[in-house]
């Protein structure tokens, strides 16, 4: 019996040594360890072994069985590894074929510039307020210190709507609406479409503005310079040169245009296309809120002061992306939109 076991062991190990595939190994497992397998048959023959011999013989059978099982496991693992490496060697795809992807939609460049500006001011503690596009004369003009028949109204050629309404010519009426309904301290911005009766390469009858204002006790022109310089640098870069120069808006006094050093030529001017050689680019209009505006909303101008500013979004986007014609924004050509 012992000899028989040893010969089964030797035969099994030899056969396994030659086994290449998973199937061949499986066949050998059945042949030796299966229900009708050779080792199994020997185990069944243990009944015929004498009780004295039985423990030693039993231990031998188990040892050989474990040895064969381990050899089967190892051969199987080797066979599988060999198959995997064979598969890997035979598989090849063209990885240079382009990916199958949905087209990436783009948000409009005006939306992108607006979000950038809005986020800069929200970061400074300004909250966004909204107002209607179809406005009344009072909120669009009169409360903002534009008297009727004043030539300042020529600066804002108006689109009139039936029912004595106008398409708002600027976002400033939102200033009035916020101040009518809230008390200082205020820090607010308004953003949106505005309209003028004007149409050429640099003027669109519809365009967009962002407007902001801050009202509190003791707000000064120096604060206007501070906050706007800070905000403009947040948008155009920390090292932008900034200058303010006097201007005129009916609803602010003193009024100022804010210029930044040209980012095209670095302020050197010359033949620069962006700043037309001046070295400066006008980016916003601003000023201290006129006492007449405060009176219109019932604030005491001796108690409160504040500043306001307005930015033309198309203008900023045209400068930033070097867009040549304002009408491109509204043609919505996909070849244009996909660039932003």
């Amino acid at each position: 019996m012992k000899e028989k076991l040893e010969s089964i062991r030797a035969a099994a190990l030899a056969a396994l040594d030659g086994a290449q595939s998973e199937n061949a190994v499986e066949e050998l497992r059945v042949r030796y360890l299966g229900r009708k397998g050779e080792l199994t048959a020997v185990l069944r023959g243990m009944r015929d072994v004498s009780p004295e011999e039985r423990p030693a013989m039993g231990a031998l059978v188990n040892r050989i069985k474990e040895e064969v099982e381990a050899a089967i496991g190892e051969t199987l693992a080797n066979a599988r590894a060999a198959e995997r490496s064979q598969r890997v060697a035979s598989e090849r795809i063209d990885v240079t074929i382009p990916g199958r992807r949905p087209l990436l939609g783009r948000s409009h460049p005006l939306t992108q510039v607006t979000a950038e500006l809005v986020d800069a001011f929200v970061g400074l503690g300004f909250s966004l307020a909204e107002g209607p596009e179809i406005e009344d004369d009072y909120h669009n003009f009169e409360a903002l210190n534009f008297p009727p028949d004043h030539p300042a109204r020529d600066m804002q050629d108006t689109l009139f709507v039936e029912g004595e309404r106008v398409m708002r010519t600027h976002t400033s009426p939102v200033q009035i609406r916020v101040m009518e309904s809230q008390q200082p301290p205020l820090r607010a911005i308004a953003v949106g479409a505005t309209y003028r009766h004007d149409s050429d390469a640099t003027h669109s009858p519809m365009f967009h503005q962002i407007e902001g204002f801050m009202v509190d006790r003791g707000i000064t022109f120096a604060h206007l310079k501070g906050v706007l310089t800070h905000a403009v640098r947040a948008v155009f870069g920390e090292r932008s040169a900034v200058r303010l120069r006097p201007s005129f808006f009916p609803f602010t006094e003193p009024s100022a245009e804010l210029d930044i050093g040209c980012f095209g030529c670095g302020g050197s001017g010359g033949a620069c296309r962006i700043c037309k050689g001046t070295g400066w680019i006008e980016v916003l209009g601003s000023g201290m809120i006129d006492p007449n505006v405060f009176r219109a909303v019932g604030y005491d101008p001796e108690e409160y002061s504040g500043f306001a500013f307005g930015i033309g979004i198309e203008r900023i986007a045209m400068l930033k992306y070097e867009i040549d014609d304002i009408r491109r924004f509204f043609a919505n050509d996909l070849r244009f939109l996909s660039q932003f």
Binding site: P98, G99, R100, R101, P102, L103, L104, G105, R106, S107, H108, L110, T111, F121, V122, G123, S127, L128, P132, I134, P147, D149, A152, D154, L159, V161, E162, P185, R187, A193, H197, S204, P205, M214, G218, T220, F221, A222, H223, K225, G226, V227, R243, L244, R245, P246, S247, F248, E253, P254, M288, P291, S305, F329, F330, A331, N332, L334, R335, S338
Partner: protein, 797 residues
């Protein structure tokens, strides 16, 4: 306002170079728009004398001239002008000369005779628009002298943008005051030397003001003038400032207007019906023929200059044709007056007559300068057109008084500007502006501003002047130290931002369109939750689009057409914007629209395919899922839009109210809108979406027992809406049915014609135990029975 530096130099001398002067003006609020170097290109034209002429051998109209330019040997020049003759001095463009239009003059053979240059006309020198013959220079002009230099044809012209508050800067004098202010230079006003003779003005004409909108009216008479062309220097002045020469009298009135900002008018005295001028409202006077020959209908409120019953001018806007100065005019009545800005503006706008005079009156002129401008003009006319100035002027100035002083508190200036302003500093600045400064109460200054600064009425106006003169650069730059405030965005904006991201991830690009629409577009695309009718514009940009859009889809249709015309095959766009309506009053609301047209937008291998409703609906469902409102959304077949295909469109409802529409255009609407091909579009009411509240997010425990999946196939009529079964199954057993999903729709054999097979996958799950197979089989059997009872369906085994 064009500022020629040669003219400016007569009022204030400055050594600054042009760039520095422009910078200082800009920083003082007078923004320089452009600088033009006029005559810079003109080169090599010198004074020559025609010493001899002879006829050209081969051309009747040409003359061969010998021209001496002071160099000894005369040049031979062929000239085509009729007025060339021996002895005259001319502008001789030598070989190599360059004319203002960049034309280079060289030696050339003219019909067999070599010409060594050209004799120039005024037009060729850029002085006149057209001229008859060559320019003849005065007899003693030095030979060989540079003509451009001699005549002053080279000038630097600074174009200054004048804000509407600074009417005082619409003149050379006004700008010179500012230049003196920013350079520290001294202002010199030209002295007027007036010689008077003949009968007194006051005896010949009377003036009456019957309307308080004219606060001052002054007139002078100049007799015996000879109307003719203006001298070269005057024409050059007008040309440099951007005006055309008419005749000597009109040119003088324009010259004085440019110089001093006071518009003047000259009437032909002989053509006035009566020696009496009345300023009054038009009232019953219906019309006047203005000097441009047009008959203008008048408004009763228009301010007129009249004589007898006849209107002779629309105050401040334009003179009448009947009293116009003509070649035969001998005696003049010169008008210098002040009219209320608002009335001039109203009339000029209504008549669309935007004259230089009206432009200045609208911005308020210097009421204190009315008489001196009149003297200046009368003296110049007497000098240039002959004639004599009648002694005295009639000057009606009923409310003449000094302006009220304005209180200026240096402490208030300090408070508002954020930099310390002393009383002495404020006094100095005010004096530099030409104001009189007296002591006021409690440290304040009492400031009386000059009459030309009509923009300075309040303390804040003076504070602005302080800031402007001190310089904005000198004011510190400070951040306010205030309690922190949190900046915030409204919920609608935050929603809009997440919607944009979700649509862009689906391949849709954002369009922004103008809000204008045609009545046809508004009829075809009636909008969502848009009441009443369309809003009309009173002065639309184009006659084709006189309304505001009712539907944001008008923008997307335009985008679709534009890109199709550009050859795009895949169009996927969305737009967020306002829709407008009119129902008693004008209203507006936020809308979102989208379109998928052509092919499905994708890059990479694989067959291109047309979009299906499911593509666009899926994009919207994702969007609703993000907002956590998908469960409240229903898709009802059909819409109220006639322009949508009735069998391929749905009304989107949210919480039972209309949220929007989705579908394809009706083929008739495709024709009307000029679009075709596979497409789907939608519009939703963003205000309603934003207003729909969603429950706060709270965590629900994860299921502890497994779900059991079963499929169920039924055959139904082909028009049957698959959603009915999904909704029914969900409601049928809310405890155990966890999910119902349609996974297949099949038409064709073996399914009978007119029928379709729908296959649903149903997930059953109990919260407290593992469902057994027997239990689920029983549920399925019950479900089939229930379906067969409720619908006309046949269970497919």
């Amino acid at each position: 306002m064009k500022l020629p530096l040669r003219w400016l130099n007569e009022f204030v001398r400055t050594d600054l170079d042009t760039a520095e002067l422009c910078h200082r003006l800009t920083m003082a609020g007078l923004e320089v728009d452009a600088v033009e170097e006029r005559g810079a290109g003109l080169n090599g034209v010198v004074v020559g004398k025609v010493t001899a002429t002879r006829a050209h051998p081969d051309a009747d109209r040409l003359t061969v001239c010998e021209v001496d330019a002071g160099e000894g040997t005369p040049a031979t020049v062929v000239c085509g002008a009729a007025n060339v003759r021996a002895g005259i001095r001319v502008a001789f463009a030598r070989d190599g000369a360059v004319l203002p239009d960049d034309r280079r003059i060289g030696r050339a053979e003219v019909r067999g005779v070599e010409s060594a240059g050209m004799l120039c006309s005024e037009a060729e020198l850029g002085i006149a628009e057209q001229s008859d013959g060559i320019m003849v220079l005065p007899g003693r002009t030095p030979l060989g002298a540079d003509v451009a230099e001699l005549l002053g044809l080279r000038d630097t012209i600074i174009e200054v943008s004048i804000t509407p508050n600074r009417g005082d800067c619409l003149s050379i004098l006004g700008l010179a005051r500012e230049v003196a202010l920013v350079t520290g230079g001294r202002l010199r006003e030209p002295k007027v030397r007036l010689k008077e003779s003949g009968g007194a003005c006051g005896d010949a004409v009377s003036i009456r003001i019957e309307d308080e909108r004219c606060r001052r009216y002054a007139a002078r008479i100049v007799r015996g003038v000879k109307i003719g062309p203006s001298p070269l220097w005057l024409r050059l002045r007008l040309q440099a400032a951007g005006m055309r020469s008419v005749n000597n009298v009109v040119d003088v009135t324009n010259f004085v207007m440019l110089e001093r900002g006071q518009p003047l008018h000259a009437f032909d005295l002989a053509k006035l019906a009566r020696p009496e001028v009345v300023v009054r409202a038009a009232a019953k006077t219906k019309a006047i023929q203005t000097l441009d020959g047009v008959v203008r209908a008048l408004d009763p409120d228009d301010l007129l200059i009249t004589t007898g019953d006849e209107p002779i001018a629309i105050a401040g806007v334009m003179g009448g044709a009947d009293s116009e100065v003509s070649a035969e005019t001998v005696d003049l009545l010169l008008e210098s007056a002040w009219f209320a800005p608002a009335t001039v503006r109203r009339t000029a706008r209504r008549l669309d007559l935007h004259s230089e005079a009206a432009y200045r009156f609208e911005r308020s002129i210097d009421i204190g300068g009315v008489a001196s401008a009149l003297d200046r003009a009368a003296a110049m006319i007497a000098e240039l057109a002959g004639g004599s100035v009648a002694p005295g002027m009639v000057d009606v100035y009923p409310g003449e008084r000094e302006a009220d002083p304005i209180e200026l508190r240096p402490s208030r200036a300090t408070e508002l500007l954020g930099c310390s302003v002393s009383g002495a500093q404020a006094r100095k600045v005010m004096k530099a502006l030409g104001a009189r400064v007296d002591k006021g109460a409690g440290g304040a200054l009492s400031v009386t501003v000059p009459t030309y600064r009509t923009d300075l009425e309040r303390e804040i106006d003076l504070i602005e002047e302080l800031a402007r003169v001190i310089g904005y650069d000198e004011i510190p730059t400070e951040l306010p130290s205030r309690p922190l405030m949190a900046g915030s965005l409204p919920e609608r904006i935050r929603m809009e931002r997440s919607i944009r991201q979700s649509l862009q991830a689906a391949g849709m690009s954002e369009a922004v369109g103008l809000a204008f629409a045609s009545p046809d577009t508004n009829r075809i695309l009636p909008g969502v939750n848009v009441a009443g009718r369309a809003v009309r514009l009173l002065n639309p940009i184009t006659q084709e689009e006189p309304e505001l859009r009712r539907s944001i889809l008008s923008t997307l249709l335009a985008m679709w057409r534009h890109n199709r015309n550009q050859g795009a095959t895949a169009i996927a766009g969305y737009s967020v914007g306002k829709a407008y309506w009119h129902e008693g009053v004008a209203g507006e609301g936020w809308r979102l629209g989208g379109v998928l047209a052509g092919e499905m937008p994708s890059i990479g291998l694989g067959a291109r395919r047309a979009p299906e409703l499911g593509d666009l609906k899926g994009i919207l469902e994702t969007l609703f899922e993000q907002r956590r409102v998908l469960a409240d959304v229903a898709w009802r077949p059909g819409t109220e839009w006639k322009s949508l295909h009735p069998g391929k469109s749905a009304t989107i409802e949210l919480g039972g109210a209309v949220l929007g529409v989705i579908g394809a255009l009706h083929p008739d609407a495709e024709v009307e809108l000029d679009v075709d091909g596979a497409h789907w579009l939608f519009e939703i009411d963003l205000d309603r979406l934003a207003a729909h509240s969603t429950p706060a997010v709270r965590f629900h425990g994860l299921p502890r027992y497994p779900a059991v999946q079963r499929d169920l196939a039924v055959v139904v009529a082909s028009e049957f809406e698959s959603d009915q079964i999904s909704r029914f199954v969900r409601e049928w057993n809310r405890d155990l049915v966890e999910e119902v999903e349609l996974f297949d729709e099949y038409v064709g054999s073996p399914i009978a014609p007119g029928k379709k097979s729908l296959a649903y996958s149903i997930a059953y799950r109990a919260a407290d135990r593992t469902l057994t197979d027997e239990e689920v089989n029983g549920l399925q059997e019950h479900l089939v029975l229930a379906l067969e009872k409720h619908f006309d369906v046949e269970h497919r085994q």
